[in-house]
């Protein structure tokens, strides 16, 4: 009985911790609200598009060399 009670206590305290988490866990809400996250997305998108175009260009150059053979 004592064990069961303990188990119940711990389970409930677990719920309490979970409930607390959902309210206080810090996320980048303000950043998203203010709209500044778009700047970061724009930056990494530009970087990735740039690298992808670069890879496409290398691919094309390679194709040219392969045709010469």
């Amino acid at each position: 009985m004592k064990k069961l009670l303990m188990l119940l206590c711990f389970t409930l305290s677990g719920f309490a911790v979970l409930a607390q988490n959902s309210g206080t866990t810090e996320m980048a809400d303000d950043m998203r609200k203010s709209g500044m996250i778009y700047v970061v997305i724009a930056t990494i998108s530009i970087i990735f598009i740039g690298l992808a175009i670069y890879l496409f260009a290398m691919d094309r150059r390679l194709k040219k060399i392969e045709k010469e053979k």
Binding site: N21, M27, I37, I41, E66
Partner: protein, 227 residues
């Protein structure tokens, strides 16, 4: 076996679009609010696909090693090597991104966690592959020995990375009673980014490997003419 598909563009465009989508959606879509992790949970979209990309090219590498042993064609050996080379780039990316993520969630860059230690050992296993290759001058012998090594290294790497850490306590999700990003952490919003990221980066890794292979092929032909 002619591999015409490596010269096609559609799947390269597909990979680029998939990754671009995950870069945008990965930051904008909501994620579960979890303590300790906070926004770093978004690393899942970028850290895990590195490992999946590595796994994809290493599987292809084993496939070509087997093909080489069956046919003895040198092109298959070259394809296998370039797949391992590409796999190691993604391996390093996965390891370094994991270390950065660990610094802010586990407390240290390297905490001697079983997953981290296994990953380091498996990395050396593949470095040994490259050293072994470069230490043999005779071409056919080199290709044969490295193909056999590669076929054995792959299952050992899989065991080190995905089996052994799961059998002990580890900080890494998915190990020792520590649930992986599954039912609890990975909600449907995250799946919409996570799966395209896995697919996109895997295809991207294959693309890089094919470019490396094509360069290697030209170098190989030029060397043979010189001889």
């Amino acid at each position: 076996m002619e591999l015409k598909i490596i010269y096609k563009s559609w799947w390269k465009i597909l990979a680029t679009v998939l990754i671009l989508y995950t870069l945008i959606a990965g930051f904008l879509l909501p994620v579960p609010r979890l303590a300790i992790l906070h926004e770093t949970i978004r690393n899942l979209y970028f850290h895990v696909p590195m490992w999946f990309g590595m796994l994809t090219v290493l599987v292809i590498s084993v496939f070509f090693s087997i093909l080489f042993l069956r046919t003895g064609k040198e092109e298959y050996d070259l394809a296998s090597v370039e797949c391992v080379n590409t796999g190691l780039i993604f391996y390093a990316m996965g390891l370094v991104t994991g270390m950065v993520w660990a610094r802010f969630t586990w407390g240290q860059f390297w905490s001697g966690d079983p997953k981290q230690n296994s990953a380091a050992i498996a990395f050396l296993l593949y470095c040994a592959y490259l050293v072994l290759r470069n230490s043999i001058d005779e071409e056919q012998k080199r290709a044969k020995i490295s193909a056999i090594y590669n076929i054995f290294a792959f299952p050992i790497m899989v065991v080190l990375l995905f089996v052994l850490p799961r059998m002990t306590d580890s900080l890494h999700p998915g190990n020792g009673g520590n649930p992986a990003f599954g039912r609890y952490d990975l909600d449907n919003n995250m799946r919409m980014v996570f799966y395209p990221a896995m697919a996109g980066w895997s295809i991207f890794a294959v693309w890089i490997a094919t470019v490396r292979y094509r360069i290697r092929l030209i170098e190989h032909k030029r060397n043979n003419i010189d001889l």
